[in-house]
Assembly symmetry: C2
Homo-oligomer: 335 residues x 2
């Protein structure tokens, strides 16, 4: 069987700014994605419109063959004027990280209200606020839930600001987004649909399943699958695909991140088929995110085929999600 779809959108991708960047770039189109929102927590970070321009240039030189949607990192030193300049850049979203909760977030926020003037500018120019929604210094399983009151406060104070709660992992986050107004959406990763915490710290430790927010309970995973199955318009695909070299994952202090983008659409087709919701594949991957971001549908067309593909054990030193596994679906581009 074959399913013809528009090129997929990935509304959360890490391309980094180092030796991993070519690997990450190659993976995007391979996975069936024609347009991707690029995260700004590189080292050094993407903070200004000039950073964005230089970053886009370097990504193009390294062969980025898909549409780039760019973001800046919001920090305590971000200014409203900086936001307005970035918006003209054009930058489609500003990304907010809590301090210390994930890769390159030591410069993240502690006092979220200190950023309210920045949110005001974002609301004014209609730039999306993208949030890693985990509360700093809260026990890892409770950090996402503990952030929800801050999210609700932002929504109350900025009723026209569009907000994406990124890579949600809990039933609590699903319920919060459902009850919040249409200005609030959420991305869901491939891996959080596929694994639970048991696949990270079951009888063996699985560093290549370790990410932030960490995968949670089966009931949380079910809530993520259910809200997609129900066709809710404000939950869409963002892989949070993040390449880390094997030695930085299999380490005494391992990096957080799952590298899923090279097999993104075959993985999602596999999961959506297993959970009998193939009818949601196109809306989840190609329509809802674009609608929320007020973008035209993505360019190009892909075809999902029920022909097996084998995920390699390693891609340029990075271990991909489902490494060594055979997936029952593959993806190809339609000329």
């Amino acid at each position: 069987m074959e399913w013809y779809l528009p090129a997929a959108d990935d509304f959360h991708v890490h391309l980094r700014k180092d030796a991993r960047t070519p690997i990450a770039i190659r993976a995007v189109r391979s996975g069936g994605v024609g347009r991707a929102l690029i995260m700004p927590n590189t080292d050094p970070p993407i903070l200004t419109v000039d950073d964005v321009t230089a970053y886009v240039e370097s990504l193009r030189q390294l062969g980025a063959d898909f549409d780039l949607l760019m973001t800046i990192k919001l920090r305590p030193d971000t200014t409203p004027d900086g936001v307005l300049a970035a918006h003209r850049g054009p930058v489609v979203a500003g990304k907010l990280y809590p301090q210390g909760v994930t890769t390159h977030s030591d410069d993240g926020f502690r006092d979220i209200q200190g950023l309210y003037p920045v949110f005001e500018a974002m609301q004014q120019c209609d730039m999306v606020l993208s949030i890693h929604g985990e509360q700093p210094e809260v026990f890892v399983l409770d950090a996402e839930r503990a952030f929800l009151p801050s999210l609700k406060a932002i929504v109350r104070n900025f009723p026209r600001l569009r907000i994406v709660l990124e890579h949600i992992t809990t039933q609590a986050a699903v319920e919060a987004v459902c009850t919040l107004p249409d200005t609030v959406a959420a991305t869901i990763t491939d891996h959080h649909l596929a694994i639970t915490l048991h696949d990270v710290v079951g009888s063996r430790l699985q560093p290549h399943h370790f990410c932030m927010p960490v995968a949670k309970r089966p009931s949380d995973q079910k809530a993520l699958l259910d809200v997609i199955r129900q066709g809710h318009p404000r939950f869409f695909s963002g892989t949070d695909s993040a390449p880390h070299f094997r030695q930085h994952k299999e380490s005494a202090s391992g990096c957080a991140g799952v590298f899923s983008s090279a097999f993104h659409m075959p993985i999602l087709a596999t999961l959506f088929s297993q959970h009998e919701m193939m009818d949601q594949l196109q809306p989840f991957c190609c329509e809802r995110g674009a609608a929320f971001y007020k973008l035209a549908p993505p360019q190009g067309q892909i075809v999902i085929q029920d022909a097996c593909c084998r995920v390699p054990e390693e891609m340029g030193g990075v271990v991909p999600f489902f490494a060594g596994h055979e997936l029952p679906f593959s993806v190809a581009w339609v000329d």
Copy 2:
């Protein structure tokens, strides 16, 4: 300051049966322990009185300079006669593993009632039943709680059988043991008093904090500390100290186990001092386990001093608990 104590008992130690054994043996006495209950899930396992005799011999040849309390592994093929022979061995406990929940447990139990004739023999000869209390195929955070009904059923059916629920990690297990009769006790490890799941899968992955059962919530950790602070007679020290070479921990599929025994008493003194329960150090480490196991107090004397000691980064290729940290207490043997 100095605290003079009897030599400590460790009622849960892995010495293995390979290149790690000399490292594990050296650690026991260094940590202030004069007598240790040795786990039987070696490769190959310790199943019979002959296995025990040979294992003790090999441990002595490798320099084991402490009292060895021996166990056998209970498997679906263990017989009541085998138990009675082991008891004469002398073997002080039979260890039960659920299938697939930890290191070398693929031959563990699925049908616990199939072992009831073995439990009957153990009750008859007064051999202790030692249990890794996690239910197979249950989500990792719920597996210990899910085993408690099986524990209660064993207690109901064998009212005189002494049972130790090993390395408990949850408030639920603490409460269950408290409400069960005096025939049921529990061991608590050093690491479960020191860390929570946040120290395993916080913003970085910490494979040297990964063990089974995995560390749980702060409220669970508090329940473990509280029941010790309250001086409950049926909770005592068992480190579950388990050496794994660094490369088997920092791996794509990492081994479960924390190597704590080389600094056992300095670690516990540090934790007990932090939590203002130094008065419980001697009962927890030197008295309660011996009383439950009906053993004379351990031989020898140690002294805990408030003099710093530094835990090395590595010991013979194994990364110890608190590697690279300075502990505010040290331990020495009194001649």
